[in-house]
């Protein structure tokens, strides 16, 4: 299924341009790095707030409102720059198990981030009402942090896995 898609993408004019103009891929990768820097730092601060490490003076909801919009605006930027890279080198990404893992992890990470943020809209103190809730927030944040870090790792390993 992917093989057919890869051939079709690779045959497009856009793919040809991205592949042959030497500065496009590093430039788009640089934008991708700048974008995920903002997202990773924002996620890190929100998750560390759950552990009581970062931004301790501010309520959870305030920290989430401050930094999570960066995630929701940043991810589309990452998708656009990511799509350019996929179009340029479809075989390198779509057929790579590490890339597929990265996309799966991204869905999980966004789900976990939404799960942490969503209850705060109706009730800013949602995660503070009981010990169980607090433990829930800590667990969600810990898993989220690990998954986001795994995404960064997977992104870099695409370059090394199965280079063809």
């Amino acid at each position: 299924m992917f093989n057919e898609l890869v051939r079709e993408i690779a045959a497009t004019a856009a793919s040809h341009v991205i592949r042959t103009v030497s500065w496009i891929i590093p430039a788009v990768q640089t934008l991708h790095i700048l974008g995920f820097s903002a997202v990773v730092a924002a996620v890190m601060l929100v998750n560390l707030r759950s552990f009581g490490v970062a931004m301790r003076g501010e309520p959870r909801a305030a920290v989430a409102n401050r930094f999570l919009p960066i995630v929701w605006y940043g991810v589309p930027v990452l998708l656009v720059t990511g799509v350019v890279l996929v179009v340029g080198e479809p075989h390198r990404e779509l057929l790579d198990p590490i890339f597929q893992l990265k996309m799966a992890l991204l869905v999980v990470a966004l789900g976990l981030t939404a799960l942490l943020q969503r209850p705060l809209r109706a009730d800013p103190l949602y995660w503070d009402h009981s010990t169980a809730r607090r433990a829930g927030a800590v667990t969600l944040s810990a898993v989220s942090l690990v998954v986001w870090i795994a995404i960064v790792f997977a992104g870099r390993w695409i370059a090394y896995w199965n280079v063809s």
Partner: protein, 165 residues
């Protein structure tokens, strides 16, 4: 020539040889380098954009600095250590790569900008902690953001230079 001898020594040291020869060590250290850069670049951007008055205007500048600086410094140290390890794999070749040299020079300039900000501009911060940030501080924030973006750009270009190191 002394430089060549030094680089040979670095590359042939236990660390340099391991970084250059192991199939998984370089990508592993590089992933950590990228992760550290993400935290550093992100927290630097949050401070710079706050100084420019573009985000978190309700959060005092002093508090923004206090909250972000530990992560910026920690991740800078991690970036420097992992970056040095990556360099040991092909020490001389990196020094002959334009993007690598440009990255080091730009980091030096960014360092001077940091010293000027913390040494001179930051002194009057109490007056503009929540109000309008003076142009000198805005300029320092803007300069910092542009310089670090240039550093990241040069960093990515190293991987595409001289036939890929």
């Amino acid at each position: 020539m002394q430089l060549q001898a030094f680089c040979d020594w670095v590359e042939n040291s236990a660390v340099g040889a391991a970084m250059g020869q192991s199939a998984y060590l370089f990508p592993l250290v590089e992933s950590l380098h990228v992760l550290a850069i993400a935290v550093m670049m992100g927290t630097i951007a949050f401070v710079d954009l706050r100084l420019m008055g573009l985000i978190n205007r309700d959060l005092p500048v002093s508090k923004t600095l206090r909250e972000m600086l530990p992560y910026t410094i920690g991740s800078f140290i991690a970036s420097a250590i992992t970056g040095t390890l990556l360099w040991t794999s092909h020490a001389m070749q990196y020094l002959q790569t334009g993007a690598f040299v440009a990255k080091m020079v730009l980091m030096g300039v960014a360092g001077i900008n940091i010293l000027v900000f913390h040494g001179v501009i930051q002194r009057g911060m109490a007056q503009w902690d929540l109000g309008k940030v003076p142009w000198r501080a805005r300029l320092a924030g803007c300069t910092s953001l542009l310089l670090w973006i240039a550093v990241v750009t040069c960093g990515r270009w190293i991987g595409f230079s001289s036939g890929g190191i």
